[in-house]
Amino acid sequence: QALPTRSSGSSILVSPRQKGNPVLACLRSIPWEYSDIVADYGLGLTTCALFLSLKYHRLHPEYIYARIRNLQGKYNLRVLLTMVDISNHEDSLRELAKTSLVNNVTVILCWSAAEAARYLELYKSYEHANFSAIRGQQATGYAEKLVEFVTVPRAINKADAVALVSTFGSLRHAVNADPEQVSIVGGWGERKVKAWCKAVDQPFRAKK
């Protein structure tokens, strides 16, 4: 049992309503403490989460709406952490999709208490993170870039990419090669040659 201490910025705030929720047992890597908040979990200044088990939602469909109303427009990001613990989840999820649009909540699904806890931890620890991880600027080496480039057509695999470039010496030569030249490369069958030449020759935009 965590003792109520002075609210520090680095822990997850948990509403006493959540007492007994197995998710709490799984919250291990980030400290948490009970606090009197309107949401179930306080994950930072602008982020909160409400926890909803679909099993409970089916018995008390009005519960979650009351809770959302109580948030009173506080918090910028309001996560509705939904645990999918029934097998016929379709109806409920359909309803929640509409709710999220109307009531301005973000639905996040999880399938186990461990996963729910992980989401909570992630939200807390990413509170001040930058978004470069999902903006896709990965600084990989030349070899990986090259392999990635060549393997865009689905028929071509990594080994083919290496074979291609090592035969032609540079990517430009490989791009400029005739189909006959490419087909001599070890491992390059007809299908691959076609896929490659098509990808390289095909105009970016279909002609009007």
Binding site: L93, T106, E115, Y126, I134, R135, N157, V175, G187, A199
Partner: protein
């Protein structure tokens, strides 16, 4: 049925009884025809099309045809038209993205004729009313086996059948396998196609058997070729690797059903596909390692094939490439490498493959310690057999030179692919050339004196190989230098010492530098099999040894680039009057080859069940031609196994289909009005959970609900399902979003695999940005597959440590952490979770309730620059995707590039100065550098 007159004024080319029967059936009623492979499906289709073509005044659409088939249909329709001199025949018009504009297409459709339209275009044209379904005389569907309920083709058929109850509809397939998986698959398939009759024509069908076996059969000589010991060793070693990989798979995925993953099934042609399919429902959950092993299985299976198909030198070359490509990425240890590379068996593979090419003899002199290498150059056993067969044929021709029939006396050699073609041609050209130092005349007068051998060819290949290898060593050094550096840190000292290797801290990229034996050193410091790079002096020795013949070889030109077209070329073979034609199996095209070449002798270098049937058909179709077939296969090899199991599987599939059809007939007759009520039938098939009121309410409103859909989304099944739920689909070229539900609601659809990849390249982030710029309520739809498990939880243990959630490691985290980041970045982004496309359709319906309808014009405008013309600007996805991978290309400048440059080739050939105005100096240099970096001279 079409209104064509009963008497046929057309000339058909269907000589065999079963073909005629089938044709009559097809003229009479709509049906699904499943014909065994090799029995001439395309011939039937073209004849059928011609019979309609000749009647004129019609609009017939061929759905799901591949390029090659389009070419064939076009050609033979023209041919038929010329033969039967039908004035009304107009031939085939092919419609695909590249050329025709909307206006031109509309004009063509109203003109009528026979069209082959790409499915994606056809469905858009049908929805936009460019082609009126009611005016269509009939549809011909090829590759019917590919049509599942959610496919684009099924969507096309549904639109067609809704509006048009009288037009004909005939579906064809020559692949019975897909019709046997799942629950009552045939019935389901037929319902998808709104067909009520299935017509099955296996090889053992009565008419087929009668037509093919009634007269003289083709003479077949089977030649079982034993493999060499080295080949056997390699095959066994590969199988061992496969076994271990399977074991690893089982170990890593305990929760999955995989009882039938064993070595036997690993021999099957599509084992890796099978494994993949079994894992597919959970693909987004399995660990990275599992994915890698599945990839390894594909590689290993490829090796199984190439050890038989390729010559020893090429095989070694392929192994080198595979090995280089599978070296671990920088900064990783042995955990991330393919497990099979650590096996002794892997060592055996590489070692044996090398020994087939050259072996080392130790000549330790006092002052120098040089290993000299000598070429071994093992030949493929089939070559000698092939030469024997050719000789036998030659003798045969000599003793009975008078051909009593109208075959050409040509020898046709069939093999699996064009590479083998090239190999055989090389072999046949050079098999009597002896690499001797003394002067010798090339022509041979007495074939018995010289045994045919491939020495000449093999030596030439070895020379090329050695040249390649030295370049390759350089390239892979440049490419993978980082790996080696990284590996130095990650040494498993136990392994290194137990093998008595040089001190592990010594960096040795070049193997064999210090040790006495080149052959013995096989492992890298981390325990995986190391790449061999011979010392320069050894190589030069080897070169010197094989160089001798070079002068002599001068008169035979080294063929590097073949200007050959279509492989339909003929090679003169020495003193034979007749021709030897080498050709690769090409499915239905082989029929053409047989008809054109009219061979008297056929050598099947590799077994192929459907080609045997083609020969049977050819033989039976021409009374006056004699054919003798030589059939080569390696005994006890994967090749043999695969052939046999292929034949067996097809037979089983047909048997099951026949059984199902027998028990199904009742169901289909009670469903008499199925065609009329196509939509209900569809909904019954795809979804049993229709909320009773939902649909009625939708139908009752004055205006049916409308959804604007990006044309690129037609690759997915969702548009079809939305249409199935009575929504009006407006196909548009959208810049922002995939589906526009209302003026404010815009949806970006991502399947789980899309989601992963679009997180990786940052596409999703940019898409969200642009959605927020134009819409009030952007939504991200995470759509799971119908059959895939509806969860993101990985099989691995989730119980995280503090490190696993720390913010600075965000990049390499799992999907969950990226979703968290995305919602933090866009707090107002709504996430919809849907367990299947069917669910999505329902969710959309609900989301649209009480919302105003979207405006297509505004939707198209969104995201476009003001001066940009709103028009049909179809983009080709693949080249764009490739371009996006080039360093220096960003989401912003990519549109400039694609507007200015024509294709990848043009971008690759641009100078920095040319690129500069489009992307800026910095990016231009990056792009230029990416394409132009010369890996041969580059010193890092």
């Amino acid at each position: 049925m079409s209104g064509a007159p009963a008497p046929q004024p057309v000339k058909l080319s269907l000589p065999l009884v079963y073909q005629q029967k089938l044709f009559e059936e097809l003229r009479k009623e709509d049906e699904l025809v499943i014909l065994a492979r090799g029995l001439g499906l395309m011939r039937l289709v073209t004849n059928l099309l011609h019979s309609y073509d000749a009647a004129g005044n019609n609009l017939i659409v061929v759905v799901n045809a591949q390029d090659r088939e389009n070419a064939w249909i076009g050609e033979s329709l023209a041919e038929h038209a010329a033969i039967s001199m039908s004035p009304k025949a107009r031939g085939l018009t092919v419609v695909n993205t590249d050329f025709q504009t909307v206006g031109a297409r509309e004009k063509m459709y109203t003109g009528g004729g026979i069209f082959s339209v790409t499915s994606r275009i056809l469905v858009v044209d049908l929805l936009t009313g460019l082609i009126n379904p009611e005016t269509i005389t009939g549809l011909i569907v090829l590759h019917a086996d590919k049509i599942v309920a959610t496919s684009l083709e099924a969507f096309i058929l549904r639109i067609y059948r809704q509006k048009n109850k009288v037009g004909f509809l005939k579906a064809f397939s020559d692949n019975p396998d897909p019709f046997t998986v799942g629950f009552s698959p045939l019935a389901t398939m037929m319902r998808n196609m709104f067909l009520r009759k299935a017509s099955l024509w296996p090889r053992f069908h009565m008419y087929v058997a009668q037509s093919l076996e009634g007269k003289k059969k083709a003479e077949v000589i089977e030649l079982e070729v034993p493999m060499t010991d080295a080949m056997k060793t390699i095959q066994t070693a590969i199988m061992e690797c496969v076994e271990v990989s399977i074991h690893e798979l089982k170990k890593g995925n305990t929760g999955l059903e995989m009882g039938d993953w064993n070595l036997d099934s690993a021999l099957l042609k599509n084992f890796d596909v099978l494994v993949r399919r079994q894992l597919d429902p959970n693909w987004h959950r399995v660990s990275w390692k599992t994915k890698q092993i599945v990839g390894d299985l594909t590689v290993l299976r490829g090796m199984l094939q190439s050890v038989l198909a390729l010559d020893a030198v090429s095989f070694l070359q392929q192994l080198d490439t595979i090995h280089a490509a599978h070296s671990p990425p920088p900064g990783t240890t042995r955990q991330t490498q393919s497990p099979w590379l650590f096996l002794d068996a892997a060592h055996t593979i590489f070692d044996t493959a090398k020994k087939r090419v050259y072996a080392g003899t130790q000549k330790t002199t006092a002052d120098t310690n040089i290993d000299s290498l000598r070429p071994v150059l093992e030949e493929q056993p089939k070559w000698a057999v092939l030469a024997d067969a050719l000789e036998e044929i030659e003798r045969d021709l000599y003793f009975e030179p008078a051909t009593r029939d109208d075959s050409n006396g040509t020898i046709l050699i069939m093999c699996a692919d064009t590479n083998t073609c090239r190999q055989l041609r090389d072999y046949l050209q050079t098999m009597h050339v002896k690499p001797r130092t003394e002067k010798r005349v090339e022509e041979f007068h007495d074939p018995d004196e010289d045994r045919p051998s491939a020495t000449f060819m093999m030596r030439r290949r070895l020379r090329n190989y050695l040249k390649w290898k030295s370049e390759f060593a350089h390239v892979s050094a440049t490419l993978f230098a980082e790996n080696q550096k990284a590996l130095r840190g990650a040494v498993d000292p136990r392994l290194a010492q137990s093998r008595g290797r040089a001190p592990p801290n010594k960096r040795r990229r070049m193997r064999g530098g210090g040790g006495g034996s080149v052959m013995g050193s096989g492992r890298m410091e981390n325990g995986s099999v190391a790449q061999y790079f011979e010392k320069p002096n050894e190589v030069s020795d080897l070169m010197a040894e094989i160089q001798i013949t070079e002068e002599e070889a001068k008169q035979k030109e080294d063929i590097v680039v073949d200007p050959l077209e279509n492989m339909d070329d003929y090679y003169q073979l020495y003193d034979m009057q007749d021709l030897v034609v080498i050709h690769a199996y090409e499915g239905d095209q082989d029929e053409h080859v047989l008809e054109e070449v009219k061979p008297k002798y056929i050598i099947m270098y590799e077994p192929d069940a459907s080609f045997i049937r083609r020969v049977e058909v050819y033989r039976s179709s021409h009374n006056d031609r004699n054919v003798r077939v030589y059939f080569l296969y390696y005994g006890n090899s994967v090749e043999e196994q695969r052939y046999l199991s292929g034949v067996r599987r097809e037979k089983d599939a047909f048997t099951r289909l026949i059984k199902e059809r027998a028990s199904m007939s009742v169901v289909m007759t009670t469903d008499a009005h199925g065609v009329e009520d196509a939509q209900d039938a569809f909904l019954r098939t795809v979804n049993t959970r229709i909320a009773g009121g939902g649909r009625l309410a939708g139908a009752a409103t004055a205006e049916p609900p409308r959804v604007v859909v990006d044309v690129r989304e037609f690759r997915s099944s969702l548009p079809s399902l939305l249409h199935g739920r009575n929504m009006v689909i407006v196909p548009c070229m959208l810049t922002v979003g995939d589906y526009i539900l209302s003026p404010h609601v815009c949806v970006e659809r991502k399947s789980v695999s899309d989601l992963i990849s679009s997180f990786r390249d940052g596409r999703l982030y940019a898409q969200c940005e642009s959605m927020f710029a134009h819409y009030r309520s952007p939504m991200l739809l995470v759509e799971f597959d119908q059959n895939k498990s509806f969860t993101l939880e990985p099989f691995a243990d989730l119980s995280g440590t503090a490190a696993s959630v720390s913010a600075d490691r965000a990049g390499e985290q799992d999907l969950q952490s990226k979703i968290v980041l995305l919602t933090l970045a866009f707090p107002r982004l709504r996430v919809i979770w849907s367990s299947s496309p069917y669910e999505t359709a329902e969710i959309f319906e609900r989301l649209k309730a009480q919302e105003p309808e979207p405006d297509p014009v505004a939707a198209v405008r969104a995201g476009l620059d003001k001066d940009e013309v709103v028009g049909e600007q179809a983009f080709h996805a693949e080249p764009q995707e490739m371009l996006a991978k080039v360093p220096g290309v960003t989401m912003k400048n990519i549109s400039n590039l694609t507007l200015e440059a024509e294709n990848i080739k043009e971008v690759a050939n641009m100078t920095v100065a040319e690129l500069d105005p489009m992307v800026g100096r910095e990016a231009a240099r990056k792009i230029h550098g990416f394409f132009n970096r010369d890996l041969l001279d580059d010193e890092e």
